[in-house]
């Protein structure tokens, strides 16, 4: 069964009308995200963990490495990184956690925090569920 925050993001992705998307800092995600091509959405994934070995991944850090992402971006782990909207422009769905796991440098406690950090000027959706804040919006 898909995690609640990922289920919400998947539902938003289905509503988005996007034809392509960059899936960023995925960690472990449901296979349903990998099968979205069959739904007409091309995807490519980016993660820094070499334990993830798949052809649809680029092993990198999207904040520091010179990577060009799609205009549509899902960031699954905002709590572990510098705000992606300060580095990339486009339409984002961003999940941030308040769990305070080791290695988290950006504890996310609200949607407004994600909006401010990523310079989101047009907000499509927001939702806060226990421990997670999720924002869909644009900064370009």
């Amino acid at each position: 069964m898909m995690r609640e925050d990922h289920r919400i993001v998947f539902d938003w992705l289905m509503e988005s009308g996007w034809e392509e998307v960059s899936l960023v800092a995925t960690g472990r995600i449901s296979d349903r995200f990998y099968s979205i091509k069959s739904l007409g959405i091309n995807h490519h994934c980016y993660d820094m963990d070499p334990a993830i070995v798949r052809n649809d991944y680029t092993l990198c850090d999207v904040i520091f490495d010179p990577i060009t992402l799609s205009k549509n971006i899902i960031n699954f782990n905002a709590q572990k990184m510098y705000p992606i909207g300060k580095v990339h422009k486009g339409e984002f769905i961003i999940i941030g956690s308040a769990d305070k796991h080791p290695g988290d440098c950006n504890i996310v406690t609200s949607c407004q925090q994600l909006i401010d950090q990523n310079k989101i000027h047009t907000v499509m959706r927001t939702i806060e569920i226990p421990n997670y804040s999720i924002v869909w919006g644009c900064n370009d």
Partner: protein, 244 residues
């Protein structure tokens, strides 16, 4: 051939005896001439042969100390470009000849690799969580200006780096070890007094023991992790012998 050696003493965690004994250990275990400089906010009690620099004006990074902790070490890569250069932390015990290492012609700035941990089982297992580190910056050497790129890289991206990394070692591990940018001391030189198995023993054939405790007490709840001044037996005797 010129060899420049640096250490840092700031705050009150370590007294002047740490600096003086470190210097004494290097005199005993480096067989070529060198300059020894302590970057400090309080030079009281240091041996007169030790040069000093003012710590208060040495750290140019406008961030709280808990961001890229000990980042000021990187300034040395821009400050010292002698034939051979080295920084070494106060909480280490040098007990073997290290001349061969500190006078090597190094292509890259060379750091400690935590050989006492299992890279795959411990470090890479947690890599994706951002919680791993397999680099230690307690004993670092570089040749001429071959470390300056690291200082320049850091200054260029300092906002992102300071936001992301709480410690220098983690920054080095995630940003530079993964790219192959760092030299690494081979196993057989440095061990960890508090982590190696068995703990608290001098590891035969090795040259330097690390006595750092902060990560251990926080991350692993090891209650018997000891600083140099808390150790007894062979470590205490040897450390105190460097007063002479």
């Amino acid at each position: 051939m010129k060899l420049e050696i640096f250490t840092f003493k700031w705050g009150t965690k370590y007294g002047p005896e740490y600096v003086n004994r470190l210097y004494g250990s290097l005199l005993r275990h480096i067989s070529v001439p060198f300059n020894f400089t302590c970057i400090t906010d309080d030079a009281t009690g240091l041996r007169k042969e030790i040069k000093t620099l003012d710590y208060k004006t040495f750290d140019p990074f406008p961030y709280p100390k808990d961001r890229i902790f000990t980042r000021e070490k990187l300034v040395l890569l821009n400050h010292s470009m002698a034939d051979h250069n080295m920084w070494i932390d106060l909480d280490v015990l040098v007990h073997g000849d290290i001349t061969e290492y500190v006078t090597r012609d190094l292509e890259k700035p060379t750091f400690i690799f935590n050989h006492w941990f299992d890279l795959q089982k411990r470090t890479m297992f947690n890599f994706g969580r951002g919680a791993s580190c397999h680099i230690n910056s307690s004993f670092v050497c570089w040749t001429q200006d071959r470390g300056k790129w690291l200082y320049d890289y850091t200054m260029k991206d300092i906002d992102k780096i300071a936001f992301t990394y709480n410690s220098l070692d983690k920054y080095l591990f995630y940003r530079h070890w993964t790219k192959g940018n760092l030299g690494l001391w081979e196993d057989g030189i440095v061990y960890n007094y508090n982590y190696d198995n068995p703990t608290h023993e001098m590891k035969e054939g090795y040259k330097i023991g690390l006595f750092n405790t902060s990560h251990i007490r926080i991350n692993d709840s090891v209650s018997d992790a000891l600083e140099l001044h808390e150790a007894d037996g062979w470590a205490k005797e040897l450390w105190e012998s460097y007063d002479a």
